[in-house]
Every structure is written in structure tokens, then in C-alpha cells.
């Protein structure tokens, strides 16, 4: 038997006259990111030679692993302006969100029983809130404005002296809009409520400072910032000290807030990913903004009836969410199979329901069905952007010629005037 490893190469589908990419162009950077090779390089020694248990105190293997973990902790702390003693490692942002919400609610339940969040939060925040409601907590789900941003007056009105915490994401995973964190933090501080923010989509993309923004708890994800999957962090303020009840108990690691042996290579990877992102953020933001504008201006120039969902001004550089009116999103995705994009968040794209985030912006259901999320990132090139524009324009045009709604629109029929048979 041959010991040679055979790697199955994906079959290339040749199409004459078209210069198709060998692999689909990845434009789904809000779902996940490829790991930066520099991150992998930093991690590798911790799988093999520096394999020690970072909690082993009696020998050099433990010490060098601990050193790796603590350096990573400092790197994570640095990018958000925190102290390293305020960062605990988790398995990812979902766990961080669960721990922040349930952990804090449980700890302070004798004094306060109310939480405030947005209807456009990630499923893991909304689901944790549902669980807390089942336990008897009260939760206010605030609507958002048409641009996807929180209404500060409504937020202020929602916070009472029973409100233990406000949880508002920094950057939305579907529409990329940035919430006014500093304003929210200031308000929460004034009203005496803790401020938790899910920063899975924000870290490394926009400047964050837990002091300037009065953030008390922050969730961080590894795989959204070119780090490994399976690792995240939670920032928990020390001054004044925020207490929380652990979800995972055991050996008391991570200051008792999260037991279990730390996955050293993953921690190192998250740390390195933060350090790279912090260093390159200003340049990268400029580059991505240019790419995004190049994409969007070409799309708007070549296609009528396209609409951007969510604020463009308050938005991370690497995200667009566009409705291509009269073209159903799933059929468009099927057509543009040289591009990897999604019609919503990866977590919910298995369902046929239109995005609850878009619905919360007041986007009509029929329009929500025509939306694509397009994410640009560190490895996106100008050539890829131009190819994507060409591919999307071609298929939207083709599908519109096939669309009865487009035909009616062209004929001046008001689609709202038709009595549709819902099914």
C-alpha cells in the first residue's frame, strides 16, 4: 500500500470564454474567516513541543504553556484597553454571551431581575434571554431604527432600577451596523446598570476601549478575526468588580468563572490574532472601505432597484447587505456559485424564514427574500471584487428576466394592489 497521501482535487468545471476561479471566491467574512498563516505559526509549537498543561505548577512544561497563555491574555486585553486580569478564555462568543448574561443575572438575582437587549441581537443572546425569562427574569427587547441602530431615548426609558444589565452588540452580524457603544456605556453607568456587549463582529474591525466606552462585559470570538475556531474570551470588569456565577464548574480555572484546562494553542492563536488585528486595523480598514465602495458603486451603477439594508455611515468596512428587488435570494446564490455569500446569518440560513434582523429594520418580507450578505476581509482582492460584481450583475439580470414581479414592476403594476394567495 502506498503511504503517499492523496488529496482529492475538486473537479474543475471548464466554461469556455470565462475565466472562472478555481475555488469559489470567499465573500462571507461575517460567518467565519480563514486563519491567518501567522496565527497558525504562533500556535504550532503549543501542539507539540510546548504541550504542557498551563495549570501545571511543578515543572517547565507547565510554565512555558502558562507563559503562552498569559501572553495571549495580555494581547486580548490590549486590543480592548483592558487589564489582562479582566480577560477569561471561553470556547467562543456563544459561550461568552451565555456566561455574561446568565452568569450576571444569576449572581445578582436577589437584587435585580430585569435585562434589556435589542431584537436584532445574535441568536445566542436572544436565546439566553429566553432561558432567563423562563426562570422568571424580565427582559425588554428593544426595536431598532430603520438604519439598524438603537434609539437612545427608548433605551433610557427602558432601564429601571431593577435593570441588572443592558446587552447590546457592537456590530451586527448580518448588516454590519455599529451601535453607539460610548453613548450606551455612559447611559448605563449613569443609570446603574451593567453594560455587556457582544463584540464578536467588532474586535479588530473598529477601535474598542472598555474604559472610554464604560463597557463592563465584552464577548470576543477567535474565528471571526482570523484566529482559530473553538476559542473566545469574555472581558469582565474588575473596577468596580462585576461578579458572575460560573456555568462550567470544576478546577476553578479562569478565576473560578470558567473551569477546564485551557486549550493552550487556541489561546495563543486568539492572542496572536488580536495582536495582528490591532497592528493592522487602521490600514486594513482603509483598504476594505475602498474595496467595499468599489463593489457597491459598481453594483448601483449597473443594476437598478438595489437597496442597502442598514446604515452605511455607521457600518464596519467589510460588510454589505443588499436587497436585489424582484430576485429571490436563494436562486441568486444558486446562480453565483463562483461566490460564497449568504442570504443571512450562517446560524439561521437553514430556515426558509426571511431574516429577523432585516424584518426588524422594517424591510418588507418580499424585500427580505431578495437580500444577500456580502462580507469582505483580509484576503479579499480587487480582482475578486470585480469578478463578484460581474457575476452578480449577470445573474440578477438573468433572474429578473425570469421574474414575474420584475415584469409587473416594468409594466407599472403596483404589487401591493394584488391580492396574493399566501401559502
Amino acid at each position: 500500500m502506498s503511504t503517499q497521501t492523496r488529496v482529492a482535487k475538486p473537479e474543475k468545471k471548464e466554461q469556455p470564454g470565462r475565466n472562472r476561479p478555481e475555488r469559489p471566491i470567499y465573500l462571507d467574512y461575517q460567518a467565519t474567516t480563514p486563519m491567518d498563516p501567522r496565527v497558525l505559526e504562533a500556535m504550532l509549537p503549543y501542539f507539540t513541543t510546548k504541550f504542557g498543561n498551563p495549570h501545571s505548577r511543578s515543572h517547565a512544561y507547565g510554565w512555558e504553556a502558562e507563559e503562552g497563555v498569559e501572553k495571549a491574555r495580555a494581547q486580548v486585553a490590549h486590543i480592548i484597553g483592558a487589564d489582562e486580569r479582566e480577560v477569561i478564555f471561553t470556547s467562543g462568543a456563544t459561550e461568552s454571551n451565555n456566561l455574561a448574561l446568565k452568569g450576571v443575572a444569576h449572581f445578582y438575582k436577589d437584587k435585580k431581575n430585569h435585562l434589556v437587549t435589542l431584537v436584532t441581537e445574535h441568536k445566542c443572546v436572544l436565546d439566553s434571554m429566553r432561558h432567563l425569562e423562563e426562570e422568571g427574569f424580565k427582559v425588554t427587547y428593544l426595536p431598532v431604527k430603520q438604519d439598524g441602530l438603537v434609539d437612545m431615548a427608548e433605551l433610557e426609558a427602558a432601564i429601571t432600577d431593577k435593570t441588572v444589565m443592558v446587552s447590546i452588540m457592537a456590530v451586527n452580524n448580518e448588516i454590519g451596523v455599529i451601535q453607539p457603544l460610548a453613548e450606551i456605556g455612559k447611559l448605563c453607568r449613569k443609570k446603574g446598570a451593567f453594560f455587556h456587549t457582544d463584540c464578536a463582529q467588532a474586535v479588530g474591525k473598529i477601535p474598542l476601549d472598555v474604559e472610554a466606552m464604560n463597557i463592563d462585559l465584552m464577548s470576543i470570538s477567535g474565528h471571526k478575526i482570523y484566529g482559530p475556531k473553538g476559542i473566545g474570551a469574555l472581558y469582565v470588569r474588575r473596577k468596580p468588580r462585576i461578579r458572575l456565577q460560573a456555568l462550567i464548574t470544576g478546577g476553578g480555572q479562569e478565576r473560578g468563572m470558567r473551569s477546564g484546562t485551557l486549550p493552550t494553542p487556541l489561546c495563543v492563536g486568539l492572542g496572536e490574532a488580536c495582536a495582528i488585528a490591532e497592528r493592522e486595523m487602521p490600514e486594513e480598514a482603509k483598504r476594505l472601505t475602498k474595496l467595499r465602495d468599489r463593489f457597491y458603486s459598481q453594483i448601483k451603477e449597473k443594476l437598478p432597484e438595489v437597496f442597502l439594508n442598514g446604515s452605511l455611515e455607521n457600518r464596519i468596512p467589510g460588510n454589505l447587505n443588499i436587497s436585489f428587488a424582484y430576485v429571490e435570494g436563494e436562486s441568486l446564490i444558486l446562480g453565483i456559485n463562483d461566490l460564497s455569500v449568504s442570504s443571512g446569518s450562517a446560524c439561521t440560513s437553514a430556515s426558509l424564514e426571511p431574516s429577523y434582523v432585516l424584518r426588524a429594520l422594517g424591510v418588507e418580507e418580499e424585500m427580505a427574500h431578495t437580500s444577500l450578505r456580502i462580507g469582505f476581509g483580509r484576503f479579499t482582492t480587487e480582482e475578486e471584487v470585480d469578478y463578484a460584481v460581474k457575476d452578480i450583475v449577470e445573474h440578477v439580470t438573468k433572474l429578473r428576466e425570469m421574474s414575474p414581479l420584475w415584469e409587473m414592476f416594468q409594466e407599472g403594476v403596483d404589487l401591493k394592489s394584488i391580492k396574493w394567495a399566501a401559502h
Binding site: E328, S331, E365, E366, L405, E407, A421, H423
Partner: protein, 129 residues
């Protein structure tokens, strides 16, 4: 979602895309589904004096399976009598295209579209006589 080869084929090479004159006496038009649900099909038939479907056209707003279902429907009803066309069942369409359970409603919609087009033609014929 992985689509069957037949769905992909109909999606890439849809048969009978287009429109017939909906005002014409020998044309029946069926418009089914709803934009809010993510599927709308328009299916039209042109019927000869002896009740044979001479031509069929469709336009569909919907996923790949919806496009394939309506494309296949137009292919199947061409050359059939109205009575024959009426007997086409959604299950046959679903089976032919190997639609997964979540996409069965696309084949239902195609069956509805055929029936609606035939009903429209018959209603027109009745008012004429």
C-alpha cells in the same frame, strides 16, 4: 443546500421562459404564490380550438426548485389536452426533480399554477360563448 442535477439543469437552462399575451382569448394565465412567502409563479397556456395546449410559458420568482418546478411543468403540459394537463400531480414533479421535503411546496405551487392557468382559460371561454 445541494440541489439535484435535474433542478440545476432546469435552473441553468430553463425551458419556456417568457410571456404570452394575457389579453388574448386563447391564452390562460395562472399567477400563484406570494412575494412575501418568497415564491411567485406565472404560468401561461395557449390553447387551440380543439383544447390542446399549443404553447406554455412561465416566469418565476423563487428558489432554484421553484424555477425548476415551473420550467418542468411547462415542458410537460405542452401538447397535452386541458383534461390531461389537469391530472399532473405535484408529487410527480417533486419525484422527477428529486426535491427534498423542504422544497415540496415548490411542486405544489407548480401544480396550482397549471390549474389556475386552465381555470383562467376556461373562464374566458365561458364568457365568450
Amino acid at each position: 443546500m445541494a440541489y439535484s442535477e435535474k433542478v440545476i439543469d432546469h435552473y441553468n437552462n430553463p425551458r419556456n421562459v417568457g410571456s404570452l399575451d394575457k389579453g388574448a382569448e386563447d391564452v390562460g394565465t395562472g399567477l400563484v404564490g406570494a412575494p412575501a412567502c418568497g415564491d411567485v409563479m406565472k404560468l401561461q397556456i395557449k390553447v387551440s380550438a380543439d383544447g390542446i395546449i399549443q404553447d406554455a410559458k412561465f416566469k418565476t420568482f423563487g428558489c432554484g426548485s421553484a424555477i425548476a418546478s415551473s420550467s418542468l411543468a411547462t415542458e410537460w403540459i405542452k401538447g397535452k389536452s386541458l383534461n390531461e394537463a389537469e391530472t399532473i400531480k405535484n408529487t410527480e414533479i417533486a419525484q422527477h426533480l428529486a426535491l427534498p421535503p423542504v422544497k415540496i411546496h415548490c411542486s405544489v405551487l407548480a401544480e396550482d399554477a397549471i390549474k389556475a392557468a386552465i381555470a383562467d382559460y376556461r373562464a374566458k371561454a365561458q364568457t365568450k360563448s
